[in-house]
Amino acid sequence: MGRRLALVWGAVSALAFLAALAITWPDAGEGFWIDYAVPGVAVLLAIGVAVAGDVARTQLVARLVVGGVWLYAGWLKIGDPAASVAAVRAYELLPGSLVSTVGYVLPPLEIVLGVALILGLLSRGAALLSGLLATAFIIGIASAWARGLQIDCGCFGDGGAKADADLAYPWELARDVALVMLSAFLVRVRHRWLSLDRLLFRPSVFAFDGGEDPGTPPITTTEPDDEEEGAR
């Protein structure tokens, strides 16, 4: 299971990265570093699972990367809700009555989501929400691009009009595609090495998870079904 999924998400992330590179060439270096880093990390993690078969460490790094991106994005926006509302409005996608609320909710939602993923708190639910949110952003950015709007995606603060936005859209989309892929992996794989879920939801009566030494990561090859892991 894990290995095949890794191939899929690695291939999709790599394709998104290469597509962005091809579309924005020769001005590919102008973007925000996170937009390059996330698809890159996604490909490396896919290799980590597919070649080394190390699901335990991969899920931890995936959680830290995806959670870190959300936390950073929310942190940059939380102090300036007016800018966040303006960034949402710039997409001209939501009905007027929702613009303000979505603008206010997004920054704290992203921070809570990021912290939950990093700490491994309700990881599967958080990963699901993370995937849905990134999908919503993909729809928003793609639609802005298709309608010829020239806006900053407002992902990490700022927002509003922006010159040369066409050069940024492919990278923003590549980043969000990679986020969806990593989120899907975190929903699918139930390994939770170093997570709060392990502490909170560890079955207290039956030790389903076989009592492995807590000091070392449970080295699991991808062949046995990961879903046997008791703690989610």
Binding site: V99, Y104, V105
Partner: protein
């Protein structure tokens, strides 16, 4: 033999039952923990949203000494616009609304009160310098010229992330184009003589919780529920021309 078997079966059944019971309790405990954590997380988000909404509730003063009134003071509707000359959305709003608002002003339905202030000083000196020039033009050449100068500033707006900023000569040129006399406005623009007024206007906007530009109030009510700035212009014209 049979009784022994039965006993063993009974014991196995009891064991199975207590295991099932423990499993149910385990499930319940799990469910309660999950619901509890979700509730706490949602409560955190809601609290932040509510606090941010309260902190950003615009409480604009009825009158301002740092404003430019376009139209008759006793017009039935008044549109207050807080703006920054460097803000691209303000420029977009100006482009979308200027013509329609001018029509409404000329029809006697509306007065537009511009309250420019400095919001985007993190990008450089342009916000403060342009506002100083605006106040100098208003003081030396009057409101009509200042309105034209205001429109020219937005029409000739530099990008937020510019590496170099237009200096005094640029503002003097636009002021003269708007109808000001160069000898009257140049000293004030070059010497940034109204920087105290710039600070006061900015402080007034901050005290009113204006944290974004443009912030638009029609008859004292902040305009919020609109999809786009073009949509807002339509809403305003609809309300004003009724």
């Amino acid at each position: 033999m049979t009784s022994k078997n039965t006993k063993a079966q009974e014991r196995a059944a009891r064991l199975a039952e207590s295991r099932a019971e423990a499993k149910r309790r385990e499930e319940r405990r799990r469910l309660i923990s999950i619901v509890g954590v979700v509730a706490v997380l949602i409560a955190i988000i809601v609290t932040v949203v509510v606090v941010n909404k309260i902190r950003n509730k615009v409480d604009a003063p009825v009158t301002s000494e740092h404003a430019l009134l376009f139209g008759e003071a006793d017009a039935p509707h008044r549109l207050v616009i807080y703006e920054d000359f460097l803000c691209p959305i303000c420029q977009g709003f100006e482009q979308a609304g200027n013509e329609a608002f001018t029509e409404q002003v000329e029809a006697g339905n509306l007065a537009v009160e511009y309250r420019p202030f400095v919001l985007l000083d993190r990008f450089g000196p342009y916000s403060a310098d342009s506002l100083n020039a605006f106040f100098v033009v208003q003081a030396e050449a009057g409101d009509d010229v200042a309105k034209t100068f205001h429109d020219l500033l937005f029409a000739d707006q530099p990008a937020e992330d510019s590496d170099s900023w237009p200096g005094a000569d640029h503002f003097v040129k636009l002021a003269v184009e708007a109808g000001a006399v160069e000898a009257e406005v140049r000293p004030g623009i070059e010497g940034k003589t109204l920087s105290d007024k710039v600070k006061a206007a900015t402080q007034e906007a901050e005290d009113a919780n204006v944290n974004g530009t443009p912030t638009v109030l029609l008859d004292g009510e902040q305009m919020e529920g609109f999809k786009s700035w073009e949509g807002l212009v339509e809403d305003i014209v609809d309300q004003v021309s009724e």
